[in-house]
């Protein structure tokens, strides 16, 4: 299926973070919406973790070598829709509260959600900042190619909120439905500036420009068991992220996520 | 004005080699077995196949001379072609197929159509078919349209590939007449049909395995056909006559019984080896027997070709041994016979 990548691979070479290769991989997540999942790990004793696509690298680090855990990645809203449609999974991690709330409202998730990390928006530019971006106000410059997330997805909603409060009118050239794709386009130099999550800027190797106005705008990452009474191995995976000393939590901070 | 051909045309796996062939005005029949290069010869003259080396001239102008870097493309040669498979334009009405060449030569639509109508009348295409597409026509009607289309731009040279292969018998005579009076100065008739040769051709070119093995007037080539196939082909007798039922009366008054019914003016053809010679009146099944005057005997290896006069001019091939046994000499009166099943009636 065309680009239908809810990536479920457990082992991925580190070298994959090379700009070109990861460009293909992460841009291909755009089409995640047209794929479906088959979470069947629970039956054979494995644990299926559905996680927001911004957590891809973190999850792969955490679960590397753990055959019993299968991570699946897509946009949070897509994951919630898939759960509602009957996809089997044991753990859900969303990139904001709204999507987790929806999963709970729909009855797909019965466990108690826990905030495990926050992600901040940053003003990102390609390495070397070729457009000489100096601050948030530069997003209004017409001579620059500026990208934002579409307001339909969490990072876009956050950006809209932040820009609204600071009264900056961005002259956006594209409203990307996927933050990874936006980061990739910035890293390729196709865009001069954009608002992405700190973690994505870090993963894509982007330069960031100080924009203190953005500090108050953050998304919370929530984890919850799908079942009200999760199996011990499922609970163990969750605890790994909720406990401050867990490998999951450590990995989150290592990748640039903020502490809750 | 002549067409002069001296060169080689390469095809995949074989080549046509033509040495200093001069094609004079009038109808020249190109004969030979299948796959000997007849069509290739025509295509090279038309400019559809290029010479590998050598030179081709039409009316004193080189149209293909790879050595000198000369190649006049087909559309500038004024060489028309009637293809064996017709190749009519399926998207055009019959009338516009015929008008096609005139339009390319600059005629306006109305003028081209007027000329097309005149040609269609001449070749005998049913007026009801003029506004139809070629697919709606019979094979014979399509062939006529193809002839009309090729004649329309008044080519200097007309190449006709197996002209009567798909024409029903009723149309052959008129088409033949049309080709005979073709306005093109040269007609190159690629054919398998002895009647075409007998009725239309003034000169012959015989091809065998990619080379010209005989050329010249019909009489010259018949005397020296150059290959076995041509000897048999040209040995074929073509006798005009009038048919009624299964009987055909020749111009000399001889009644021949034939296997298939026909009516009107026809040709009866039969190979030279189908004629049997007897000292005395033959008995038995051969009902077509007549007394003939032996005019000449040509000995060619083990074969003797006997030329007979009398009520009908006929060639008979017998073995040299039986010629000796029958003691055949010019002036002798002898019985000739033919089986009805050996006769083909062509209208």
């Amino acid at each position: 299926m065309a680009g239908g990548t809810i990536t479920g691979h457990r082992h991925r070479p580190r070298a994959a973070r090379l700009a070109m290769a990861s460009a293909v991989a992460s841009v291909s997540m755009l089409a995640a919406g047209c794929s479906s999942t088959a979470g069947n790990g629970a039956e054979d004793g494995g644990v299926v973790v559905m996680a927001a696509s911004s957590l891809t690298e973190v999850m792969e680090t955490v679960f590397e070598g753990r055959e019993s855990v299968t991570p699946l990645f897509a946009a949070s809203s897509t994951l919630v829709a898939q759960l509602a449609a009957g996809a089997e999974a044991d753990v859900l991690i969303t990139a904001n509260a709204a999507t987790m709330d929806r999963a709970i409202a729909e009855g797909s998730v019965r466990g108690e959600p826990v905030l495990i990390a926050v992600n901040t928006l940053v003003l990102a530019t390609p390495a070397g900042n070729p457009g000489d971006v100096t601050g948030l106000a530069d997003l209004g410059r017409r001579d620059l190619l500026v990208g934002l997330c579409a307001v339909e997805v969490p990072c876009g909603a956050l950006a809209q909120q932040a820009l609204g409060e600071t009264r900056v009118t961005a002259s956006a050239d594209t409203l990307e439905p996927n933050v990874r794709a936006l980061a990739t386009k910035i890293s390729l130099g196709e865009l001069d500036a954009g608002l992405v999550y700190a973690t994505d800027a870090r993963t894509a190797g982007l330069a960031t420009v100080d924009a203190p106005e953005l500090n108050d705008h953050r998304n919370g990452y929530y984890i919850a068991a799908v079942s009200a009474e999760p199996a011990p191995e499922v609970q163990a995976v969750i605890d790994d992220f909720t406990g401050l000393g867990g490998t999951g939590a450590k990995a989150l901070y290592a990748y640039g996520f903020g502490r809750p | 004005m002549t067409v002069e051909f001296d060169g080689r045309v390469a095809r995949s796996g074989w080549a046509l080699q033509v040495d200093q062939l001069a094609i004079a005005e009038g109808v020249t029949a190109v004969v030979g077995a299948n796959g000997t290069g007849k069509t290739t010869l025509g295509r090279a003259v038309a400019g559809l196949d290029r010479l590998e080396r050598g030179r081709l001239e039409i009316a004193g102008t080189a149209v293909d001379d790879p050595g000198a870097g000369v190649f006049v493309p087909a559309h500038r040669r004024r060489v028309g072609m009637v293809f064996q498979d017709h190749r009519l334009f399926g998207h055009l009405r019959v009338i516009d197929n015929v008008a096609f060449g005139l339009r390319r030569a600059g005629a306006d639509r109305a003028g081209a159509r007027r000329q097309a109508v005149a040609l269609l009348e001449r070749v005998g295409v049913d007026p009801k078919a003029w506004q139809r597409r070629p697919a709606a026509l019979s094979g014979g009607q399509r062939q006529r349209v193809a002839v009309a289309r090729a004649l329309a731009p008044e080519p200097e040279v007309l190449i006709v590939d197996e002209p009567l292969a798909s024409v029903d018998s009723s149309g052959r005579a008129s088409l033949r007449a049309l080709l005979g009076e073709s306005p093109a100065r040269h007609v190159l008739l690629i054919t398998h049909d002895p009647v075409d040769v007998a009725t239309l051709a003034r000169r012959l070119v015989v091809l065998d395995t990619g080379a010209v093995v005989s050329r010249g007037s019909v009489a010259e080539v018949t005397a020296s056909p150059g290959c076995e196939w041509a000897a048999t082909f040209l040995g074929a007798n073509v006798v005009p006559g009038r048919a009624q039922g299964t009987s055909v009366t020749t111009e000399g008054g001889l009644a021949l019984t034939v296997a298939e019914e026909a009516a009107g003016s026809v040709y009866v053809t039969f190979p030279a080896h189908a004629v049997t010679l007897h000292r005395d009146r033959p008995a038995g099944s051969a009902r077509n027997a007549w007394q003939a005057e032996l005019q000449r005997v040509d000995i060619d290896g083990e074969r003797a070709r006997v030329h007979l006069g009398g009520p009908v001019q006929v060639r008979a091939d017998v073995t040299r041994r039986s010629a000796d046994e029958l003691d055949l000499r010019p002036g002798l009166t002898i019985w000739a016979s033919l089986k009805a099943t050996e006769l083909t009636v062509v209208t």
């Binding site: 065309a2 680009g3 070109m20 460009a23 293909v24 841009v27 291909s28 755009l30 089409a31 919406g33 946009a75 809203s77 190619l145 990208g147 579409a150 339909e152 997805v153 956006a172 050239d173 594209t174 409203l175 990307e176 439905p177 794709a181 386009k185 390729l188 130099g189 196709e190 865009l191 | 038309a46 400019g47 559809l48 493309p73 087909a74 559309h75 500038r76 004024r78 060489v79 028309g80 072609m81 293809f83 498979d85 190749r87 009519l88 334009f89 399926g90 998207h91 055009l92 096609f100 060449g101 339009r103 390319r104 030569a105 289309r149 090729a150 329309a152 731009p153 080519p155």
Partner: protein, 275 residues
């Protein structure tokens, strides 16, 4: 038509030749048909019929429709202008590695569109192989422009046109071209008066297929040209975003796209495709 010997045959009652088809083949065939039909039914069953006019009348939808029409028609035009010569080259020219060349032509058909879009960025993007020179010499930058959407859509739609036309050219052969040449028609006249009219059904079919593909194009457009209302946001992009915001609207727009595609294909089948 009034001739008494002519019997009007109702196509429905036309006698069919006795079938030699094994029953299992028939059954699996119908299962496959069901597989193709089911998503359509799914969409229809969720369609917000009563809200349809208001959803489709929304300014964003109308704007996306306008962009979609401009982009798909321009892309189709590009497919014809570029694809026709390419089809001729493939059908009539002797190529060095014909299989490889043909595979390259078909590549956009099998390439995930997102990868196609990424590849376009690498080639024609502002920092791309060719794109950097376009920018430097002509000041032209394709990504994030309507022209970029057209390029992306043309890229994925081109093979549909080329493959259709090339097949027709092969089938037509060069016999009619030769006949035209002996009638005094030069290369251009032959092209205009013989070759193109002969393959007209395939030209129509190829054009319609390319247009339908361009109209539905999503991945390559989004990746290469981005998404901005009134500029690069086509109906499929609008659908994708609507899915996040208002699934009903997504269904409504999908219905429009589906209806358009069906209309094109049904017309094609009736008018131009060999039966």
């Amino acid at each position: 038509m009034s001739s008494p010997t002519r019997v009007r045959v109702d196509p429905g009652t036309e006698p069919r030749p006795a079938s030699q088809l094994p029953a299992a083949v028939t059954w699996v065939g119908f299962v496959a048909l069901g597989l193709l039909l089911l998503p359509v039914v799914g969409l229809l069953q969720r369609a917000p019929w009563s809200a349809l006019p208001s959803i489709l009348g929304e300014s964003e939808v109308l704007e996306a429709l306008r962009v979609s029409l401009i982009v798909s028609l321009a892309a189709t035009g590009a497919c014809i202008v570029l694809g026709l010569p390419l089809a001729f080259v493939l059908a009539r020219r002797r190529l060095w590695f014909p299989r490889i060349v043909r595979a390259v032509v078909m590549l956009p058909m099998v390439l995930p569109p997102v990868v196609a879009g990424t590849a376009l960025l690498f080639a024609l993007g502002r920092r791309g192989l060719v794109g950097q020179w376009l920018e430097e010499w002509f000041g032209v930058s394709l990504p994030f422009t309507t022209a970029g959407s057209v390029v992306a859509a043309a890229f994925v739609a081109l093979p549909f046109f080329v493959v259709t036309v090339e097949a027709a050219l092969r089938q037509a052969g060069d016999e009619l071209d030769e006949a035209a040449a002996t009638l005094g028609a030069g290369a251009w006249a032959t092209l205009a008066h013989v070759t193109l009219p002969t393959i007209r059904p395939a030209l129509a079919a190829g054009t319609a297929l390319a247009w339908a593909r361009a109209l539905g194009e999503f991945g390559a457009t989004l990746t290469f040209a981005g998404n901005f209302p009134g500029r690069t946001r086509t109906l499929p992009l609008e659908t994708y975003l609507a899915l996040e915001r208002n699934p009903e609207a997504a269904v409504a727009i999908s219905l429009v796209l589906m209806a358009v595609a069906l209309a094109v294909l049904v017309t094609l089948r009736d008018r131009w495709m060999p039966r």
